[in-house]
Symmetry: C6
């Protein structure tokens, strides 16, 4: 119905505005962190920038797929690009993990090895989910979905076990935020397979579409913008000691 069409339309526009605003916030905030965290803030802003671009395209695709006149929603013949989110995730999800690792301030070699391992696992996870998303049978959707769960669970394990001792070595005033960031990742990421499998049980009904689209949108905003604010706060706290030893004039 047009109420459901409008809700999804508004959700996409809201996501675009939120992610564009987050991009500006993170790139203006880049100058408020120490040099060793500038790359992390650059990437945080890139994640929301890429996502804002993709939400703009999702928003346009939704508008092109349906026509609404006098309250009646009809299809136009152009298909809504259901898989656009995967194009976004395939780039942004590995970058989200790199963001977290960079702001942990690990040793150089450990930073590279973890970023590579988690990044490849994340890309694999998204790539294994794509055929299931565009599948035309429920069986294929289940098979690919379960395959994607494997790297998903590996990432979750790594985030909780492998990073635990790294968290112990964080400065005290950043430790709570790093723990919170880890929970936000796992909590928001868990939403994605839930929504995916929900689509496998009631595909192509209007209510299921609303749940899927609004659900993914809330999860994307949480996983990118909310998570990015935590990254920024971690970087700011860890930068305090750097700025203490680098007092500088500022324009009056």
């Amino acid at each position: 119905t047009s109420g459901q069409y409008d809700l999804i339309y508004n959700a996409f526009s809201f996501a675009f505005a939120t992610l564009a605003a987050a991009t500006i916030f993170f790139w203006l905030g880049r100058s408020q962190v120490a040099p060793q965290y500038k790359s992390a803030m650059t990437i945080t802003g890139l994640v929301t920038f890429i996502a804002a671009y993709h939400y703009f395209r999702i928003f346009e695709s939704w508008g092109a797929a349906y026509d609404v006149s006098d309250g009646v929603v009809t299809t136009t013949g152009y298909a809504f690009n259901q898989a656009y989110r995967y194009v976004d995730w395939f780039l942004t999800v590995p970058l989200l993990l790199v963001e977290l690792i960079l702001v942990m301030g690990l040793s150089r070699s450990e930073t590279i090895s973890r970023a590579l391992r988690l990044g490849i696992l994340a890309a694999l996870m998204i790539a294994l989910g794509y055929p299931g998303e565009v599948a035309e049978t429920v069986t294929a959707r289940w098979i690919w979905g379960i395959a994607s769960m494997i790297p998903f669970l590996w990432i979750v394990y790594e985030l909780f076990a492998g990073l635990s001792k790294s968290i112990a070595s964080q400065p005290e005033d950043a430790r709570g935020l790093v723990k919170a960031a880890r929970y936000v990742v796992v909590g928001s990421w868990a939403f994605y397979p839930v929504v995916y499998f929900a689509g496998a049980v009631g595909l192509d009904s209007a209510a299921a579409t609303v749940i899927v689209e609004v659900g993914y949108t809330i999860a994307d905003i949480t996983a990118k913008a909310v998570f990015g604010v935590l990254i920024f706060m971690i970087a700011q706290r860890k930068s305090a000691s750097y700025f203490e030893s680098h007092k500088a004039p500022v324009e009056k």
Copy 2:
């Protein structure tokens, strides 16, 4: 009538210009505050930036919904997106509260806990009002409206009681402005439910539409741009001591 159409059209264009100008003012003003208030000014500018974007879309939606030729106003079949404001408020209203809390200069833990609590309450307030705004029955509009009043009243209480002792600890020359900002929030915010319930009594008449649209526009500008100027002035006054101890050269 076309006079009423023009008044609303001009109100939306005026809001766009005001909020765009406010964005430029706050982001140019970011360099005139101390580092601990830069994030507050970034967010103040983001609120008006997001709102300007949404007013542009509201303005476009209004133009697409009606056709005016030789003084006669007719509908086009495309519905005016009545709920666009909620998309805006859902993001900007929590940010407005974060703005105020950031510029209070509270302790780190108190800043985070208040921002989270008030932000969630504000988002809940807007989310509970959305179904009532798009409702097709007066009963539903009342029920959702009253539900939305609950977090609304909680926020007002928190702003007056919970922040009173914080205001007492403000520097003397900023205390008056912080009190004024609190009144601007509560005064402008009170306008929204009034307009909402006014719509519940005389829905779909042209005069009611004028009252609702122009009323919400005046309230949005007051709650965002006027409030933002107060935030900027508070941050400037609180930055004076920082700049005293950080005298610096400036380009002649």
Copy 3:
């Protein structure tokens, strides 16, 4: 006739170019004044920026309202938005007064009280003139016009009497410019009611339209761009002492 159409068309385009150029001039000039005058220059540039945006829209509205082919001017059915100027003035006219008060360098409390009082009076003046501008009877145009004269005269009185002693306390080399600025305000502002009431005697004739549109355009440019140059010169002169005590290196 098409000659009159072209003259108004060219006047609107000229105003857009002048106000856009003035915006660039004031914002580039922001770095050439002392910190306490930066906000004044920001606002000066915002006034011309907002006005340039509105002249662009006035220009577009004029082009959409008439069709000119082989020298014959016909209406298109779309009405020229006669009231667009009021949308512009409602925001820019209060800001013009704030500009002047900020650059006077008064005490903080006096700055705020005068800015608030004059700003509200100015907004009230424009708001009271708007119904008369869109009125369809000459009687209504007179009534609202006279109502608008009341805050208008109050502002003029305040500018001459209330600010006289402030001018006496200005640095000597800025005093002449502040007096000139006051005359420019009153002189250019006096033009507006003259043009308004001229419209009340010969409405809807082509010559009257030329007088009204070109007259308002000249007055807008004088009241915004010319006045802004005076504000900039005042701020530069008052900044000289600040820069004397803040000699600084500059890039060679």
Copy 4:
């Protein structure tokens, strides 16, 4: 013919490119002059910026006025806006004189009085030429043209007599450039009445149009971009002593 159409089309595009490039050159060069000449460079860039905008519109108007298909040029019914140049000159010609006076480094009071007098004379000159340009009789074109010659000759006299003693007081290494700039002004400006009166003898023939349009274009580029380069060189030479006493670090 289409060869003549193309020549004028290319001349307008060339002027746009040259003036846009000159704008960038002058605004990038603003950082290479002393503070007292920054306003002069800002205005120099504004003159070419305004002119580039107006050439873009002249270019568009020319393209809309004629249709060229298989080598045949026909009119479209839309008139080429012959008077657009006056809109440009009305703003830029006074600014050109202000540019020259600012870079002379005269006393403050003399700078203001000369800028005002020459600026008003220049605006009057352009305004008196406008009715002649759009006139439909040769008599009117002559009358207004001769009226415009009066302020024109007054400006020329002022530039040669009134500024002679100012030139004598210029630093030795800038004196030659200031003399050259004065000749460029008078030499390029003399071209305008020649082209104007040429139009009065053979109006509306294709060859006359080519002469008028290409002639005005060459004169505009000389009077704005070439003259601006001289202003920049004068400002650079006069800035040398300032930079000598303000040696500063620069980024390696």
Copy 5:
């Protein structure tokens, strides 16, 4: 089929987003390297900027070449510009080699001679492949492809043999990255002739098109964005000593 059309469509959009984001990352990162590596980062960003522009055009060309309605893909009569990638490579592939050589920090004369030699070989390689790509016979595709292999193998040899001793003289903490970068170049570049010759065996079938387009896209992203990240990391590590000896204030 439309699933294959969508996969290629999404791959092109993904490449555009990735390369645009990489451009921002590299140009923001330019300020985090020592002056002798700034040119290398400028060029790294230019490579991804040029490639993003070309992917935008490839994306548009793909959309214009096919029409998809209700799941059926038909051609439009406009040909997909198959050779656009060569236009991109002809400029970016030589620049990729210049990037690598600049960040090696060789002597000035050796830098120039290697850059010239490898750059000319790379341009020759792409130019020799272009006629084969647009060829209409398999024989021509083979002939030009083999000709292109000659400079290709020469570049590979030079990268492994000629640069080996340069790698030995790299700082220890950058040596591993330089070796990795060399492998990324050869590994990703080897993909191109594989894809090219794959097209020579099964031209114009839909599956072959998917393999070619997605394969080239993955290779482009690896050869430009992934390689660029390695260049950035090498430059950062080699800049550490420079920054040690240039401790500087930074804005608090």
Copy 6:
């Protein structure tokens, strides 16, 4: 044929991308040279910026002149603007000579006199070639071409004889590059009359068009972007001594 159409289409797009990228490279590089060479880098970037703008217009004109459907190329009735390149050269060719003279670091008076003389000769050369390019007879093309050769040969002579002793006085490490730059100018410039006269022997055949358009494109890129890189390298080398005596902090 469409293969020839595509080759020219791709050549124009390639030139646009190359010149736009070169512009960014030169303007980012402006901060890496000493102050006395900043104007040279500004102009170098302006040359490629103007040329990129003109190539964009050439590209658009080519697309509007022909229609390609199912592999068949037909004309549209809109003529390809053959003379657009002269519009570009008329501005950029004099600027290229000014670039070279500025970076030679000659005395002020010699810089001005050489720049004026060579600039006027270059403009004359292009202006004398324009009527021949648009001529409709081979005789006229030869006559104007030979006339254009006269200032062409004068410039070549001046570049080799008149600048020889200037080269001898260059710093040793820049001397080789200045010689190379001189050869690039003469070598690439020689290509233009060759292409011009080639057009005089086989006008209006498709193969001749390919040779002319691709040939001019290669020459433009060499004469502007490649030559600009040499100018940048000369300026960097000559800036080394300046930076030695101006060591400065840089942001870590």
